[in-house]
Structure formats: C-alpha cells, structure tokens
C-alpha cells in the first residue's frame, strides 16, 4: 500500500527536495529528555505504550542535547534553571524546535512570583505552545503534530533569510 501505488511500473517517484527533507525531519524528530515538573509525567505517558509517540517518529528521547532536534520544555522553569535551559538549547544542532508544554512553560501558569520565568519564550524561541495544567498526552501529541505541519511548510529560502 501507499508508495507502491504511486511508483507505478517505472520505479521512480518525483517530488521536491523541500518536501523530501521536511518529510525526513518530521518523521525522525527526536525530543530531548527535559522534564522539569509534573508535565514530565504526562510526557512520559505520551511516550509509553497507550499513547505511543513513536507512531510519529518520536520514539527516541535523547539524553543529550547534541543528538536531539526538539526541546519539549515540560514544566515550570525557575529563574535559576533559565541559564541552563538556554545553554542546552544552544548545544542542540540546527535545525531545532521548541515546544512549551503546559501553562507554566507557556506563560508562568499559576506561579507569578520571583522564582519562576514567566514563559520560556523569554529564554528560547518557542514554536508551539501546548495549553493545559498539565496537558493530557493527546494534547502533547496534538502539539507535536502541529509542529510537524509547521515544519512541513518550511521553505529553504525562508530558512536562509533567518
């Protein structure tokens, strides 16, 4: 099924390089193990058997930023953690994406005080915000698929400009 039908009898499929590259990127997007609070539990659930994020090419959580493409900021970021978060982001190879998972990572959530960064977009550029406290695994998977759509729409000339 699928690709064989498109191939026909010629054994050739035509596409654009951008589509092929973006297809590869979205289907092997390895997230970094970066649980900071209760959201990390939902992130683990999204990885585990019931929800199984590996269906979307996210089966490998990398313990090293140097091997990962996606940073899921799962939980509240304290002001003391913020420089560490930025450092890990800087260590990730391009291209890289960030999902702010949960209310705390997106905007500070219920913690408006001296200790918590009011949204990780103050520290790293965020691609997708996932709402919820904590978001259910379905919500995280929806966020990941939203990111996939975003990546599929990326064009090389835009990336060159940035």
């Amino acid at each position: 099924m699928g690709v064989e039908q498109k191939l026909g009898n010629m054994g050739v499929v035509t596409t654009t390089l951008e589509t092929a590259v973006n297809w590869a990127r979205t289907n092997a997007m390895w997230p970094m193990l970066f649980g900071l609070a209760c959201c990390a539990i939902e992130m683990m659930a999204a990885q585990a058997a019931s929800y199984d994020m590996s269906r979307f090419g996210m089966e490998l959580m990398r313990p090293s930023p140097r091997q990962s493409d996606l940073m899921i900021v799962a939980g509240r970021v304290s002001r003391k953690m913020a420089p560490v978060l930025r450092r890990l982001y800087d260590q990730m190879p391009e291209p890289k994406w960030v999902i702010a998972m949960g209310d705390c990572a997106s905007c500070g959530g219920v913690f408006n005080n001296y200790a918590i960064v009011q949204g990780v977009d103050e520290v790293v550029p965020v691609d997708v915000y996932v709402a919820g406290c904590p978001p259910r695994p379905e919500a995280l998977i929806h966020g990941v698929l939203t990111l996939s759509e975003k990546v599929k729409g990326e064009r090389f000339k835009d990336a060159a400009k940035a």
């Binding site: 002001r79 500070g108 001296y114 009011q118 103050e122």
Partner: protein, 172 residues
C-alpha cells in the same frame, strides 16, 4: 507541657534568662542571640536533644518598631526522652546577626544558608556563607513580608497587547 520538659525549661530560664510561651502544649523558649549557642549545647549534651529537626525563621512585619521583627526558630527533638522543644531567637531589624549553630549541630549548615538566602539574617562565623537556593544575582530576600509579590504582570485578553510590548522576549 510535659513535666520532664518543665524542668529543662526551668534550667534554661535560670541560666540564660529565657522566657517561656506556651501554645497548645508546645513550649516556645525565647533566648537572646548571645545565649543561643550555650543553650543549644546545654540541651544537646545535658538533656539528650540530639536532633535539630527544623530550623527556620519568621518575619512579623509590619508591627511597631519596639518589638523584634524576626524570630529565628530552632526545633529540637530528643529521641531518647521523647521530648520536643522550640527555641526562638528574636532579632531586631537594625542588627540582623545571630551566631552560627554549625558548631553544635552540623545540620544547621544548610538551614542557616537558607535563612540567609530567604530572610537576610546573617549567621556570624558560618563556614560557607553563600546563597543556597536562589540565583546569585537576585536582589532582596523573598520570604521577607515586604518583598514585592509579583514579578511580571499577567497577560489577559483585555490587556494582552499592552503588556506584550513590555514583555521580555528572547532575541534568538
């Protein structure tokens, strides 16, 4: 209050001029800063209070200046005698200094660093007087009652744009 504890409190009152306040059967013994180390040593050595189970501080701001603003609290437990006593050291707003208890209880080391961090009370003679929980560049002491509560204005739909202009976003 326990009769065994009453005798111990009496010795503290006679030796150090301590005052006693009772709250729901718990003994709170008020000791002056210059006597606290002797009092802790006496309790540990003569009365088997081997465990410093908690050490913290309270800020009673705002109140009139005649009463001390901070209380440093030492909660001691004697597992051998099944007793618990609380020592309180009132500290005045102008001179926030208490001698360190690290020489008596090693557990006081991090507790005192936390109190230094959160209340700005100095412990004289502390072996490692660095911040323990907060970032090194933070101004002020957050558990003081006069520390400002909010750090950033929350964005709602009606004021989103207005606050978004001031919000510190990262520049890649």
């Amino acid at each position: 209050m326990d009769t065994k504890l009453e005798k111990i409190v009496q010795t503290l009152q006679e030796k150090f001029g301590a005052t006693l306040e009772e709250f729901r059967g718990e003994a709170h013994v008020f000791v002056k800063p210059e006597h606290i180390i002797e009092a802790l040593t006496l309790l540990r050595d003569a009365h088997e209070f081997a465990l410093l189970s908690a050490m913290t501080a309270v800020d009673y701001w705002p109140q009139d200046a005649s009463r001390p603003r901070f209380h440093v609290i030492y909660q001691l437990t004697s597992l051998a005698r099944n007793l618990s006593v609380q020592l309180r050291v009132p500290v005045n707003g102008s001179r926030l200094k208490v001698p360190t208890a690290t020489g008596v209880f090693a557990a006081a080391n991090w507790r005192e660093r936390e109190i230094m961090d959160m209340f700005g009370i100095e412990f004289e003679g502390h072996p490692d007087p660095r911040r323990i929980l907060l970032p090194d560049d933070l101004d002020g002491h957050p558990l003081r009652k006069d520390f400002p509560l909010g750090y950033e204005e929350p964005q709602f739909t009606f004021n989103f744009e207005e606050i978004d202009v001031r919000k510190p976003y990262v520049k890649e």
